[in-house]
Symmetry: C2
Subunit: 412 residues, 2 copies
């Protein structure tokens, strides 16, 4: 077997995706499989059964992260790991997360089928509660793994019914022994649908992901004065909404001044008292700024801060701007990015670099090991939605890239 021409089985990968999507399937063709629910247990059990059938050695850590190992020739080498998560949003799709796990499983099946040994072990991983829909914080398993927050903090998280993560892990049989993070990795790869429209728009098959954007989140409150819409002349108004709209527009203008990776979004708006014939007395809204370059993200932060201050001075209204969240950009490891790039070139797929705007377990994995990601197109850029869709040929291509990127890291 010429390893350079090795390909995964696209039909087998698709069947695994469809089989796993049966667990928690929704009427609209999506999946609802919330973290640590009975359905999550069924999904986990199915993936473990598939792993055992391939002879993989299973280890589970104390936050329920699962690693399924295919031994290498050299047991002293840390494994080359690939994975993602199998929990979904309440109205989630078949591919988000699941694809990264089953593409890794397909890599193992392909290696087994062709009897190919690797120098380093190969592992299929899935992380607990990436979505954060039922329990906060999001990316819980990988976050504990890399030390972003403590195991106890994660254990004490409760869902709306008051059920604790630790108790739910025990209940579904996934409270493991391994200490989170005590699991060296030679490299970590995560294949994922893009969750954006860039690849589809450019008609490319593989996105090489050099980095994940940093983000800066704000709450902004403009305080004006409620008054009757009729009797109050324009020059005597303190209309909070009119001033707020200037800042909403500037949020987008700032992003447009930092192409191609600047992002600016106002997604949440609350107007008080929100009555047709009352001039708004207060407007609260969110601001979401992102960039892949930390220096540029900081400039964007300074620009929104300055603009809000200038708008307050100009309008005479009180305006507060509070930064409520900040994550710096996460560049992936050059070795992993390069492995993905070379594998893509070797396989001849059309490709482009796509910076990830969304969070992934790979961000936390990157804190403790060389990490990289592979994106494939998703229909209309839509995810976290039951109509989330992807083409079998693209999913197959992404898994082939994963196979060869892992082989590059596992033999060297």
């Amino acid at each position: 077997m010429d390893i350079a021409n090795l390909k995964i089985d696209g039909a087998r990968l698709w069947q695994a995706l469809m089989d796993l999507a049966q667990i928690g399937a929704t009427e609209k063709g999506g999946v609802k499989r919330l973290a640590l629910s009975d359905l999550d247990k069924q999904g986990r059990d199915l993936v473990l059964a598939w792993g055992r059938a391939e002879g993989l050695q299973i280890s589970i850590d104390q936050i329920g992260n699962v690693f399924m190992r295919r031994p290498g020739r050299n047991p002293d080498l840390p494994p080359v790991v690939a994975g993602s998560h199998i929990d979904t949003q309440p109205t989630g799709g078949k591919f988000d997360g699941n694809y990264g796990v089953l593409a890794a499983l397909e890599v193992v099946r392909t290696l087994n089928q062709h009897g190919i040994e690797t120098e380093a072990p190969i592992e299929v991983a899935f992380w607990t509660n990436e979505e954060g829909s039922r329990f906060v914080p999001v990316m819980m398993g990988s976050g504990v793994f890399c030390g972003a927050f403590s195991l106890q903090h994660a254990y004490d998280a409760k869902d709306v019914a008051g059920l604790r993560v630790e108790d739910e892990l025990r209940r579904i049989g996934y409270l493991g022994d391994e200490i989170p993070g005590q699991h060296p990795m030679r490299a970590y790869f995560e294949a994922h649908i893009e969750q954006g429209p860039v690849l589809e728009d450019a008609d490319k098959v593989i996105g090489v992901v050099p980095a994940v954007m940093g983000l800066s989140w704000y709450d902004c409150v403009v305080q004006g004065m409620e008054a009757h819409a009729g009797p109050t002349p324009m020059h005597l108004r303190r209309d909070a909404l009119q001033i707020a709209t200037r800042i909403m527009q500037e949020t987008v203008a700032i992003a447009n001044r930092y192409p191609p990776y600047g992002r600016g979004t106002v997604g949440y708006v609350q107007v008080f008292p929100n009555s047709r014939n009352v001039i708004p007395g207060q407007v609260k809204f969110s601001i979401d700024l992102r960039n892949v370059n930390e220096e540029l993200l900081d400039k964007m932060h300074q620009e929104i801060t300055s603009f809000v201050a200038a708008t307050a001075a100009d309008s005479g209204l009180s305006i507060s701007l509070e930064r409520v969240s900040y994550y710096p950009p996460c560049p992936f490891h050059p070795e992993c990015v390069d492995a993905v790039r070379q594998a893509t070139a070797q396989l001849g797929y059309s490709t482009m670099d796509v910076v990830s705007g969304a969070g992934h377990d790979a961000i936390y994995a990157a804190r403790v090991a060389p990490a990289g990601m592979i994106f494939v197109p998703c229909k209309d850029g839509i995810s976290h939605n039951e109509i989330e869709d992807a083409q079998a040929a693209h999913l197959e291509a992404g898994a082939n890239v994963l196979l060869h990127a892992m082989l590059r890291m596992a033999v060297s």
Copy 2:
């Protein structure tokens, strides 16, 4: 007695206002006396008792409007009427409506005290359910009186508990015999707190009200495309909020192009899905345009219509603009406006013209008789609020103007 120097008793007027405000008094110093409630009955009964004590003849029509007549020398002349309403908002104040009724009562008391006869009869009126808080439509009693809508339509209106206007009128004993509108009026005057900041801002005591503004109300819906705030590049977005903010700003810009009586307000905004990290897929908002000149209001209508069409074409987003309500401007009768103006000049109060931006029973009264209004300042332009406030000296001045405006119409 030199009639030209006749003055009302400001202390007596204030006491009447405070006494009536006890019925439904709230802890915060306001009044809650909803139309046709037990408290409304108590308020009505008190005002009728005061009227009877002054020897007034009381008639009640089928929608519960009350007229209390002081005969004139010539019983064939239609009466000069003044009044307003005594129902309040759920968190209403002491002066809105009540002032117009009790200022008219104070006029009668003053005439009685000084034994002054008028040629035409003088009447104190109050109209049913002006506020519209409990039953829709607003300005119900005056609306039925002038034929804006039918008695049956008003009778069938229900509150949130399902109680009907007709039944509640009967229950509180104010379902009268007189056919609404079968009550000729020589003129109708209404004294009222301004409900806006104009007099206070200009430091004037009396507002002569030449007209009530017309209004044009719209629902606007901008349809974009929901997408993740991170993975979606700026140039591939269809951000409904960003496009909506242009229209929100233009609403105010249009009003500013038609000074001094143009008004433009966006009071209600609903963003979907209204999540911090999702680009808004749809924004619904209200537009409120007003002007005192119908031709200018029509130009404002054409401008917002054109702007929305141009914005839809420019952005490629679908935008709907639906006019949901329209009231033409209501100029008051020159004879009544002039009577108020001359009375003010004669009394030497500082004055200015103030167009009413809010609705009043006088608008409907103006459809069937010469009508006019008198405004006095209210603190910070605030009404429909328990902190609504007005100065006793201003209320006294307004009642003096009402007295002399009525005398002008009642003797001529």
